[in-house]
């Protein structure tokens, strides 16, 4: 009896509060005050989790399977530590540098310290940023965490460039500096309403420039600066565990739905469109690559199909909120051809050692995706028109965004790399490299025959 009574009281309170919040909502809608919408919030929390899934375990296993067995733990460790360190950096000052407003001539280039240590942000604050839902928004905190996952995965993508030969301490310092001086400003340019590229009108739905071009160019620069692996030329260095690569790539694909469909910051039609085009583009890219593998290399390969899926996903990222299915098919079709040529022809010709093709896949696919947004954006999705639908203006802005990202990321990555190399040294010694980084950096081995 007593229990029943308590239950009834709880139900009464719950129904009252539900009624109240509904009431509050209708009032605020009348006044056009933005409010927190539980549906959008629920989806964005899930999307945030999906983006974390991309870094650990997705990217970690994708890269981990591609290296030799003496280096897999080092890759897993780098992905894990990046997640931890960049999260802390993001909370301390990274988020503030990326998304808050600053004053004076620096305002279009980098944020201030208003939100450092998440100062001035309460648990019930409504997110100041929105894409398609100006009234029904998500909590500010969810937005911070969602963006945090992007800040985490971007430096993690670069790991592929210098895998198997980097000193752990050097890597750690480089990653923190890179996130602060390269990622945060570029995120500010494109995603903060104060940013100069945002004001120019360049668009990047889920991070084609901010994440993929940025990481891809940094990968190319670091791969060139750190030098080739020992034996790179006269020994073919094969991946040690292809099932891991497939596992990681599949997790990337799943996680990418959070990455792209979450970037509308709401659970609505725009998110549904991003969801659809992401899936279609990855599938088309996978099929095209397999056909090329079959024609030029005689057999369709597993490494080929997973690489293509990742390239397709990277290419659709900036376009997911602007193109429809037709656009997705074209982007997926072309990205496979470009990336196939890049990693199969151009890279061997140039002879640089971008170990896991962070530039050849992410960088190139990102550049194509950002430019393709200017070609294929359709007014049927959002109010942006690409070249193929009648207006060339967006393409020009996209080209400026691409160029600015390439130049800034290239130069600052170069400087930071040289700085870290000068201060603590960044390349592992020849002996450490030949013994494997698992043992020499972490004193652990992934596979052992000890019972």
């Amino acid at each position: 009896m007593k229990n029943n009574k308590i239950l009834r009281i709880i139900i009464l309170i719950l129904s009252c509060s539900a009624g109240n919040s509904l009431f509050a909502q209708t009032i605020s809608q009348g006044q056009q005050q933005p409010v927190i919408n539980p549906g959008h919030t629920a989806w964005m929390i899930v999307a945030t989790i999906l983006v974390l899934l991309m870094t650990i375990p997705g990217l970690a296993f994708f890269y981990g399977g591609l290296v030799r067995q003496k280096n897999i733990l080092n890759i897993l460790m780098q992905c894990f530590i990046t997640t931890a360190v960049i999260t802390v950096q993001w909370i301390f000052f990274g988020y503030s540098l990326s998304f808050s407003s600053s004053h004076g001539f620096l305002a279009p280039f980098i944020g201030g310290f208003d939100w450092a240590f998440l100062n001035n942000i309460g648990i019930n604050d409504v997110c100041p940023f929105f894409i398609s839902q100006p009234i029904e928004r998500i909590p500010h905190i969810v937005f911070i965490l969602f963006q945090c996952m992007f800040a985490v995965i971007t430096p993690a993508l670069i790991i592929g460039a210098f895998a198997e030969r980097i000193k752990f301490s050097g890597f750690l310092v480089f990653t923190i500096l890179w996130a602060t001086f390269v990622y945060d400003p570029i995120a500010h340019w494109l995603w903060c309403p104060d940013g100069w590229l945002y004001k120019l009108g360049a668009v990047d739905f889920a991070g084609g420039a901010v994440v993929h071009i940025n990481a891809g160019i940094a990968a190319l620069v670091t791969a060139l600066l750190i030098g080739k692996r020992k034996n790179f030329h006269h020994v073919n260095i094969p991946p040690h565990n292809i099932p891991f690569v497939v596992l990681g790539a599949a997790m990337l694909w799943v996680g990418w739905f959070g990455f792209n469909a979450g970037s509308g910051l709401a659970a609505d039609g725009l998110a549904a469109n991003a969801f659809l085009v992401t899936h279609v583009c990855a599938s088309v890219a996978a099929i095209v690559w397999i056909l090329m593998d079959w024609i030029f290399n005689k057999k369709p390969t597993v490494i080929g199909i997973v690489t293509a899926a990742v390239a397709g996903l990277a290419a659709i990222t900036p376009a997911a909120g602007f193109v429809n299915v037709t656009g997705a098919v074209i982007i997926g079709f072309v990205v496979s051809i470009i990336c196939f040529c890049m990693v199969g022809v151009v890279k061997p010709l140039c002879g640089y050692d971008d170990t896991l093709d962070a530039f050849g896949v992410h960088g190139i696919a990102g550049i194509w995706g950002v430019l393709a947004t200017g070609l294929l954006a359709t007014p049927l999705v959002q109010n942006y028109t690409g070249l193929f639908y009648g207006s060339g203006a967006l393409l020009g802005k996209q080209a400026i965004a691409t160029l600015a990202t390439i130049v800034y990321s290239g130069i600052v990555t170069f400087l930071l790399f040289k700085l870290v190399d000068f201060l603590i040294g960044i390349r592992a010694s020849a002996k450490e490299e030949s013994m494997g980084l698992d043992l020499t950096m972490h004193k652990e081995t992934a596979y052992t025959n000890v019972d």
């Binding site: 020992k230 013994m435 025959n449």
Partner: protein, 115 residues
């Protein structure tokens, strides 16, 4: 014909391979092994360093013609020596015969490709 089996450190494998190829040993077999002896190796598990007696090494094995034996042994010693305990050992044994499956050649003939 002699069979040469050498247990070496994994870290010296690259140097040994280069040295053997320089000494006319064109192919050899290798595999990773774990040995248990008196030497101790450290391993870290959950915040604590443990001493284990499992020692990781690599075994290289090949059969060569008699006149190459000393050259090969010197090549291995030179490339695999660090001077510390645990550099490994080389074992040499006689081989009665060898047969190349493709041609049916017997003896030392089966061990190298005539130009």
């Amino acid at each position: 014909m002699k069979k040469i089996e050498a247990i070496i450190r994994k870290s010296t494998f690259d140097e040994v391979r280069e040295a053997l190829h320089g000494a006319e040993i064109d192919f050899f077999t290798y595999w990773d092994v774990t040995g248990i002896g008196n030497e101790k190796a450290g391993s870290i598990f959950r915040a604590k360093i443990y001493e284990t007696r499992f020692i990781q090494r690599r075994v290289i094995s090949f059969v060569c013609r008699d006149h190459l034996v000393e050259i090969a042994i010197n090549a291995i010693i030179k490339s695999a020596r660090t001077g510390e305990l645990g550099d490994g050992k080389i074992f040499i044994s006689n081989i009665e015969d060898s047969v190349r499956i493709r041609t049916g050649e017997h003896g030392p003939e089966a061990l190298f490709i005539k130009e």
